[in-house]
C-alpha cells in the first residue's frame, strides 16, 4: 500500500520533471496519439532507470511494477493484442467468456435498478427508454445488447476492431437491437472530444483492470456524462484473496478464463477507486461485492468486496460558486476570520456555538 502511494506520487513528480519523450519531439498533435503507445514504453524505461536508484535505499522493486504507465492513452497494447486473439469466441455461451455471460445476471439488474432510482418511471416493458448509455470496452456486446433490449439507446465502444465487428454482426439480425444499439471502434479519449455531456450513464464493466491510465479514463468518463449521470464499474479488488481466486484458481487451475487475462498489479481496491472518483467529481452511491461460484457458473451478490465488486457513482452536478466569506449579520460572528482556514462561529439562540471550518 505504502509503495503504491509512493509510486504514484513518484510518477506525478517525475511527470512534472524535464522528461521529454524522444518520439514526441518535434511532432505535431496529429501524430502525437500515434506515438503515445511508444511513449508509454520510453516513459516506463525512464522511470525504471530513475527508480532503480531507490533500490539502494531499500525500496521494494515491485514499486515499478505497481505503477501504471502514465501516458496520454488509457490503452495497454499488450491487453489489446490479448483480446484480438479471442475475438471470435464472444458469443459462445460455454466458451472462454461464459463467466461474463453469467455476470449479466448481476450487472444488468444492478444497472437497471440504479438507473430507475435516479430517473423517472418509464413504461415497464422498456424500463430504460429514453436513456443514452455508453458501454466502454463493450467487447462482443455482451452487456450492450441486454440494455438495448430494455429500451435504452446504447453506444458500445471498443478499441479492438474485431470485437466491434463481431458485436455488430451479432446485433444485425435483430430488428429491436438495430434501433437501440450501435458500435464504434474507438477509445474513450477519442470519444470524449466529440461527445461532451452526452450520456446518462457510462458503463466500465470488467475494463479497469485492463487499462494503462486510470486517471485519464475517469476524467474522460466525467466529460462524456451529463451532470447527475451515472457511472457503473465492475472490477476486481487487489487483495491476496483476489490473487488466489482470480489468478491462481480462475486462470491456472480451473481455466475459467484463459491464462494471462488478468494482471494482478492492475487490480484496484475500492478505497483507491473511490478516492479517485471523488477527486474527479463523482460521488459514490453504492458498492457491492460479487461472488462467482465455479461449480455452477453463477454469480451472486455478497457483502465482502474482497474479490469482485460493482460500484455506482453519480457525476456531481455543478454547484454555483459560493464565496467563502459571507458573514451574515444575524447569528454569524465573523470576527474569528483569519488568513488560514476560514473560521466563523455560528451563534444561534439557545444553542451552543458551533465552529465551522471551510
Amino acid at each position: 500500500m505504502y509503495c503504491n502511494t509512493f509510486g504514484r506520487f513518484a510518477c506525478r513528480v517525475f511527470r512534472e520533471s524535464r522528461f521529454q519523450c524522444p518520439m514526441n519531439k518535434g511532432q505535431g498533435t496529429m501524430s502525437k496519439r500515434l506515438a503515445t503507445w511508444t511513449s508509454c514504453k520510453h516513459y516506463k524505461q525512464f522511470l525504471e532507470r530513475h527508480l532503480s536508484n531507490l533500490k539502494f535505499m531499500g525500496v521494494a522493486t515491485r514499486l515499478v511494477q505497481h505503477v501504471r504507465t502514465v501516458s496520454h492513452s488509457t490503452l495497454d497494447p499488450a491487453e489489446v493484442r490479448k483480446f484480438q486473439a479471442m475475438a471470435n469466441k464472444w458469443w459462445d455461451l460455454q466458451g472462454d467468456f461464459a463467466a461474463l455471460h453469467s455476470l449479466n445476471d448481476l450487472r444488468v439488474p444492478f444497472i437497471r435498478d440504479n438507473l430507475l432510482n435516479v430517473h423517472s418511471v418509464h413504461p415497464i416493458s422498456k424500463p430504460l427508454a429514453g436513456l443514452r448509455i455508453l458501454d466502454v470496452g463493450c467487447g462482443g456486446g455482451l452487456l450492450t445488447e441486454p440494455l438495448g433490449r430494455l429500451g435504452a439507446v446504447v453506444l458500445g465502444i471498443d478499441p479492438v476492431e474485431d470485437n466491434v465487428r463481431i458485436a455488430e454482426l451479432h446485433a444485425s439480425h435483430d430488428p429491436v437491437l438495430q434501433d437501440h444499439v450501435q458500435y464504434r471502434a474507438c477509445t474513450l479519449e477519442e470519444l470524449a472530444d466529440e461527445e461532451e455531456e452526452h450520456f446518462d450513464a457510462v458503463l466500465a464493466s470488467e475494463v479497469l483492470e485492463h487499462l494503462a491510465d486510470l486517471d485519464t479514463f475517469i476524467h474522460c468518463c466525467h466529460c462524456v456524462l451529463k451532470p447527475g449521470g451515472s457511472l457503473f464499474i465492475t472490477t476486481i479488488n487487489r487483495t491476496q484473496l483476489s490473487y488466489v481466486s482470480s489468478i491462481v484458481l480462475a486462470e491456472w487451475l480451473l481455466r475459467i478464463v484463459p491464462g494471462g487475462t488478468h494482471d494482478w498489479d492492475k487490480f484496484i481496491t475500492p478505497v483507491e477507486l473511490e478516492r479517485l472518483l471523488e477527486s474527479s467529481g463523482f460521488c459514490v452511491e453504492s458498492l457491492r461485492g460479487m461472488f462467482y461460484n465455479p461449480a455452477c457458473g453463477a454469480w451472486s451478490w455478497q457483502k465482502s468486496t474482497a474479490v469482485n465488486y460493482a460500484l455506482h457513482a453519480l457525476k456531481q452536478r455543478a454547484e454555483p460558486q459560493q464565496d467563502h466569506i459571507q458573514p451574515e449579520s444575524d447569528g454569524l460572528d465573523a470576527s474569528a476570520h483569519t488568513d488560514g482556514p476560514h473560521q466563523y462561529n455560528i451563534r444561534t439562540a439557545g444553542r451552543d456555538t458551533h465552529t465551522h471550518t471551510t
Binding site: 455461451l93 472462454d96 449479466n104 422498456k126 444485425s172 430488428p175 438495430q178 475459467i256 465455479p294 457458473g297
Partner: protein, 467 residues
C-alpha cells in the same frame, strides 16, 4: 483438454445440438418480420400460453404469434348439449386461467365438486378426498370446448398484443445454427403450408402428444402405449342429485370414472381394453347404461381372503383412528346416454426427456402425456404455462434474449421435478390396479385403507394435485 477450458461442470451436460439444421442463404440486414414468440398449437394449453404472455407487463411490445391448424372456436353461450371431452381443472389451474378467462368459463358453464371417492372393485377398500367441511371446491369439471372458447375470447381482447392465425398449418421447422456460424440467421424458421416463412426468437411447441415440434427437433421421448382405450360419454342420471362428488372405481380391466357436469348429467371416462371399448361403443344405449351401472355397483370380483383381510384391517384402523374410515357411498345411477356422445381414444404414456432446446420449449401434451385416471393431464399443461410465462417475464425484465438456454433450463428443471413424480405415480397406480392377483389386491387394499386413515397424507396428495 484445451477444449474444456472455461467450461464449467454444469455446462458439460448442456451441449444440445439439433439433429439437422440448414445453412440459411440470407444474411446481413435485419428482418423486420422476426417474432419474439411463436406458439405452435392453439389448443387449451397453447391458447393459455398466448394469453399469459399477452397479459404480461414485461412482455408488452413483444411480437407474439399463435398458430392453429383448426378454425376459431367461438361460443357466445353454452350449447344445450354437453360436449364429451371434459377436464378436471384444479384450483392452481383455475388461478392461471383467472387472468380473465375464468370469468368467461364461469359465465359459460362449469361444475365444481367438493369430494372424490376412489374405490376398488376387488375389495372393499376405498379412499375419499374432500376439502374440510365441504366448503371449498376440490376441482372443477369444465368441457374442453368451453375452456378453449373462453381463452379465445380473452385472446381477442389482447389482439394488439398477440396475433393469431387460424387454419394455418406448419410444414417445416428450421433450427438455428450454433453461435460460431455468425453469418447465418440465428432464429427458428417456421415454414407454413401456404409457402410463407416466419422467423422467431422462441418457438413454443404446444401441438399435442404427437408434437411435430418435438419430433423435428429430434428430442428423444420415453413412451409406451397402454393396452387400453378410454370411452367417454355424457350420461343422464336417473334423478337429479346434488352431484358434487367425483367417482372412480378401479375395475380389473381399468378404472371407470364419473365426473359431475350438472344436477342431471355426468361425464363418463372408462378406460378399458381396446376390445371391450369397441364393444361398448357398438352396444345399444340400454346395454351400455347397464354395463356402466353394474361396473359401479357389482361386487362379483371380490375374493373372500381379501375381504376378510380388508375388514380385519379396517377394524384395527377404526380402533386406532376412529375418524379414519369412511363409509362407502354409491354413485348415482345412470338412466341414459347423451345422443352421439360416445367416443373412444387410445391411451398411452409419453414423456419428452428434454422440454427445451436452444430457442425451443415444449409445453402441455407435447412434453408429457398421462393416463386420465388421475385427472391431471390438463393441469400439468397449465402448470407448464404458468411456469414458462413467469420465466420468460423475468428474462425479459433482465433484457435477455428470450430463446436463451439459461432461463429455459430453469423452466425445464422446475417442471420436470413436478411432472415426473406425478407421472410415475399415475403409471404406478395404473399398473397396480391392472391385475387381479391376490397379493397385489391385498397390497393395494391395505395401502388404500391406510392412506385413507391418515388425513395429513391425504392433504399432501390433494395439495400436490391441486397445484
Amino acid at each position: 483438454s484445451q477444449k474444456l477450458s472455461g467450461v464449467t461442470l454444469s455446462n458439460l451436460f448442456v451441449t444440445r445440438g439439433f439433429v439437422s439444421s440448414e445453412n440459411a442463404e440470407e444474411s446481413g440486414k435485419a428482418d423486420s418480420d422476426v417474432y419474439d414468440i411463436i406458439i405452435s398449437g392453439g389448443g387449451m394449453v397453447g391458447t393459455a400460453m398466448a394469453c399469459s404472455v399477452g397479459f404480461d407487463p414485461n412482455l408488452q411490445g413483444s411480437k407474439i404469434l399463435l398458430l392453429e391448424a383448426g378454425s376459431k372456436k367461438e361460443m357466445d353461450k353454452a350449447p344445450d348439449v354437453y360436449s364429451t371431452r371434459v377436464s378436471s381443472i384444479s384450483p392452481g389451474s383455475a388461478t392461471l386461467l383467472s387472468l380473465g378467462a375464468w370469468d368467461h368459463i364461469v359465465n359459460l358453464r362449469c361444475k365444481p365438486y367438493q369430494k372424490m371417492q376412489v374405490w376398488d372393485a376387488c375389495s372393499d377398500a376405498l379412499i375419499t378426498f374432500d376439502k374440510e367441511n365441504l366448503q371449498d371446491e376440490m376441482a372443477y369439471v369444465v368441457e374442453n370446448d368451453v375452456i378453449v372458447a373462453a381463452l379465445t375470447k380473452q385472446l381477442h381482447a389482447l389482439s394488439d398484443q398477440v396475433e393469431v392465425q387460424y387454419r394455418t398449418k406448419v410444414v417445416k421447422y428450421t433450427w438455428p445454427r450454433p453461435y460460431h456460424a455468425v453469418t447465418s440467421i440465428p432464429w427458428v424458421k417456421v415454414t407454413l403450408a401456404d409457402g410463407r416463412t416466419l422467423k422467431t426468437k422462441l418457438l413454443i411447441g404446444a401441438d399435442g402428444s404427437n408434437s411435430m415440434v418435438r419430433r423435428e427437433a429430434g428430442i428423444p421421448t420415453v413412451k409406451w402405449n397402454y393396452d387400453q382405450s378410454a370411452v367417454v360419454a355424457v350420461l343422464h342420471l336417473s334423478e337429479p342429485t346434488e352431484n358434487n362428488v367425483a367417482w372412480q372405481r378401479f375395475l380389473p380391466t381399468g378404472p371407470i370414472a364419473m365426473l359431475p357436469l350438472s344436477d342431471r348429467e355426468s361425464s363418463l371416462v372408462w378406460s378399458t381394453s381396446h376390445q371391450h371399448a369397441e364393444e361398448l361403443l357398438q352396444m345399444d344405449e340400454e346395454s351400455f347404461v347397464d354395463a356402466i351401472n353394474s361396473a359401479f355397483w357389482s361386487n362379483e370380483n371380490q375374493s373372500e381372503l381379501v375381504e376378510a383381510a380388508g375388514s380385519l384391517f379396517r377394524a384395527a384402523l377404526s380402533f386406532l383412528m376412529p375418524d379414519g374410515t369412511s363409509t362407502r357411498q354409491l354413485p348415482p345411477s345412470v338412466a341414459g346416454v347423451g345422443p352421439k356422445s360416445r367416443v373412444m381414444f387410445p391411451l398411452g404414456m409419453g414423456h419428452a426427456s428434454e422440454y427445451i432446446r436452444h430457442r425451443v420449449a415444449l409445453i402441455g401434451d407435447a412434453a408429457h402425456r398421462v393416463h386420465p385416471l388421475a385427472g391431471q393431464g390438463a393441469n400439468l399443461g397449465f402448470g407448464d404455462v404458468s411456469c414458462l410465462a413467469r420465466v420468460l417475464s423475468q428474462a425479459a425484465f433482465n433484457g435477455k434474449d428470450l430463446g436463451e438456454m439459461q432461463h429455459l433450463l430453469e423452466y425445464e428443471t422446475e417442471r420436470q421435478r413436478h411432472n415426473l413424480p406425478m407421472m410415475a405415480a399415475t403409471d404406478l397406480m395404473k399398473r397396480l390396479y391392472s391385475t387381479n392377483a391376490a397379493p397385489m389386491v391385498l397390497l393395494r387394499t391395505l395401502g388404500i385403507q391406510a392412506t385413507n386413515a391418515l388425513p395429513p397424507l391425504k392433504e399432501q396428495i390433494i395439495a400436490y394435485a391441486s397445484k
